[in-house]
Amino acid sequence: MTASAMSRRRLLAHAARIAAGITVFAAAPACAFNPLPALPTRGMPPAEARIAWLRLLPDGRLQLLLPRQEMGQGISIGLRQIVAEELDCELERIEVVLPDTASIVPVKSTVGSDSMKDFAEPVARAAALLREHLKRGGADTEIHDQGQPVILRSLHGGEACRHVGKSRPTERIADIVTGKPLYAGDTQLPGMLFGLVLPAGAEPPEPVPGLRRVELSDGRRGLLSDHPGPLHAISLERPEAARAMPDLDIDAAMRRGRLEHRLRGDAVDTEAGWTLDRRYDTPFAAHAQIEPRSAVAQWHQRGADVQLEVWTGTQDAFFVRETLARQFGLSADRVLVHPCRIGGGFGARTIVRQELEAALLAEVAGRPVKVQWSRAAEFVNGFHRPPSSHRIRARLDGDGRITDWWHGFCSGHVIFTSAAMPPWMQMVTSLVKDPGVARGALPPYAAARMRVEFSDIRLPVDTGPWRGLGAGPNGFAIESAIDELAALAGQDPLQYRLANLDPQHERLKACLRRVADLAGWIRQPRMGGGFGRGVACGIYKESSFAAVIADIGIAADGAVNLRRMYCVQDSGLVINPDQVRAQIEGNLLWGAGMVLTERLPIEDGRVAAYTFADYPIPTIDAMPAIDIELIAPPGAAPAGAGETGMVAVAAVTNAIAAATGRRVSTLPYSPLSPT
């Protein structure tokens, strides 16, 4: 009998002895203080608010109450692997539960690739405490993590691990491939109606058989139907006055005076000549997740007791609960939110819209109501990555080293999104720098003097977080400029990066060296033959590192074909390599999409996209072969892995420059666009 089998048997025996089961409580991890919670980043919950992470049930089943939302990033399987490692049991013994808002205390939003970084250790500790408790044969029904010392087996990785460091497919994969209900829109309740809320000011359509017009308690109007067909025939296009779209032009902004927010403020000589003086622009971009927003709401009333129950795919179930409680004058415990698996998050599920619509409709219907946004609603009523405009000026010394770096940029808001903030708060936030716009704006390169500054500009189209926040646009600008500097210095772009990265970023250098080996990069191939190879690298949130090489071909009509992409990423200890690779595959394709197609059309200050024909995203024929390697120095803690590779955008544009001799300064790339 193996040691682990013995352990399993012991677990089961103990569980069976304790009729009430065992629950392990731990404090929720702290997170960064957010002065203005436009998006609800939460602080440390009060000490008495303990999260139940693990439940060992009397029948021997072990439940992990997931303190995160699952949107395909694989956090369910990753945390499950950690629990199994600590308890030395089979993965199958652990059941992952997406808990409703009554089952755990509030935890922060599932955003920013934070889940493994913040939750691996507390979940490991809870499991380890349970293990030690069972070993002692303790009879307690509750275990509280009070910071007592406990040995963690899972977070050092290594050969001894059975589960950590092993590839496993995403949670519920068998249900996914057989079409079992998993997502909010799959919810079906007896007597359920279907509804939509008309945009404010929109005239209800002419009466259609089966459609009932209703007045909602927030003053809006809605439509109800006993089947969904007629609702999807309703057009969301509405005649409205044009809105002025502020010019997002960094040069005009810099001429108007000083940009508002400083990230680095060294005194650069602004009068002397520059080695490089280049403008970069990025457009609006949509999340375009394949699952359009959906929610089901149901009201319960027994006497004076009113309860609202909601099913939704959200990155923050507690924000949904609080928003609905406030809207309807309920205490938070009267609102129960059931989070469902999310059919694509990417930042899109961070505010409360369809949940409120379903609750308003269900309120007047007196029956459960399902709201299913159309694709047009996703584009027109959703929120989007703001456009950005960059000016990068740099000066080199005789050896090609950067003496002066001046990056000024402007962008619509990301974190302080108008989509989730009342106008007064929008006014206040113009005084505070938007950390989402700033993400990734500090280059990893050494420069004697560095000035990085920006202005965020309030736009009439709702903007907000999109995969990587500012990292994609800023990475595009910085890594394009670095590539040009290498050319101006007459150096190979990969060697140039190695020579000019700040010495503290050894881990990024290791990624660059390794990706050069992987791709066989000795020096950048000369231009010609319709082939180009480009490189880019970047750091996400000071803790995750990636280097990307892209090989592209240029067709006779100038169109770009991705041939192969290579990525080496260091996100510290990897719990599940397959899931991290999957995240990187997504990043590489998102980076490619930024170059190839993605530009959300805006007309008269409004989104003018209604279908995927108006906003094409990459299809399978755009997907190149991909080689990924994960590296990490021994002992490195797990870091976020889901957004680092967005810097791939610049590997592609640098490859286009290598192939054509034309620098890409405006996204998406068009063979006809000026350089």
Binding site: M71, G72, Q73, G74, S167, P169, T170, R172, I173, A174, I176, V177, T178, G179, K180, P181, L182, Y183, G185, D186, Q188, F194, P209, H227, P228, G229, P230, H232, H287, A288, Q289, I290, E291, P292, R341, I342, G343, G344, G345, F346, Q372, R375, D578, A582, E585, G586, N587, L588, L589, W590, T611, F612, A613, I617, T619, I620, D621, A622, M623, I626
Partner: protein, 152 residues
């Protein structure tokens, strides 16, 4: 009105005859494995088979499905035995969020029916109408090769 879904007849109330088949499958018959993604036939999430051919169920009038064999993701496995594509999808760990994958698998099943040994170009041509935002395309190719008995 009667339609046949996964080999079983289903009564559909006449007033729903003009509704897209997608909504009848999901909300009348409770077969929610077929997903809504765009309602315009541009994303492939709602792909089902009509007489073995992949169609976008959001673009099929329910009345026009009468007299044809409709197959959805729920009918792809033979009892407990998963279809080779479903097995391959698990072996290649294809899904991330998973939302588009039922449509992807149904499109792939239709492809393998007429092209049992597809190369990458044939896969790309057949699957280019099925969008995945998570970026699982490389794994989709590998899984289709695996199900076709080829080296993934």
């Amino acid at each position: 009105m009667q339609i046949t879904v996964n080999g079983r007849p289903a009564e559909i109330p006449d007033p729903l005859a003009d509704d897209p088949l997608l909504w009848i499958l999901r909300e009348t018959l409770g077969l929610t494995g077929t997903k809504f993604g765009c309602g315009q036939g541009l994303c492939g999430a709602c792909t089902v088979h009509m007489d073995g051919v992949a169609v976008r169920s959001c673009q099929v009038r329910t009345a026009d499905a009468a007299g044809h064999e409709i197959a959805t993701i729920e009918g792809l496995a033979a009892g407990d035995a998963l279809h080779p594509l479903q097995q391959a999808w698990i072996a290649e760990s294809v899904p991330q969020c998973g939302y588009c994958q039922a449509g992807q698998i149904m499109a792939a099943a239709a492809l393998l029916r007429h092209t049992p040994q597809p190369d990458d170009a044939a896969i790309d041509a057949a699957m280019a109408g099925n969008l995945c935002r998570c970026g699982t395309y490389q794994r989709i190719r590998k899984a289709i090769h695996r199900a076709a008995g080829q080296q993934p």
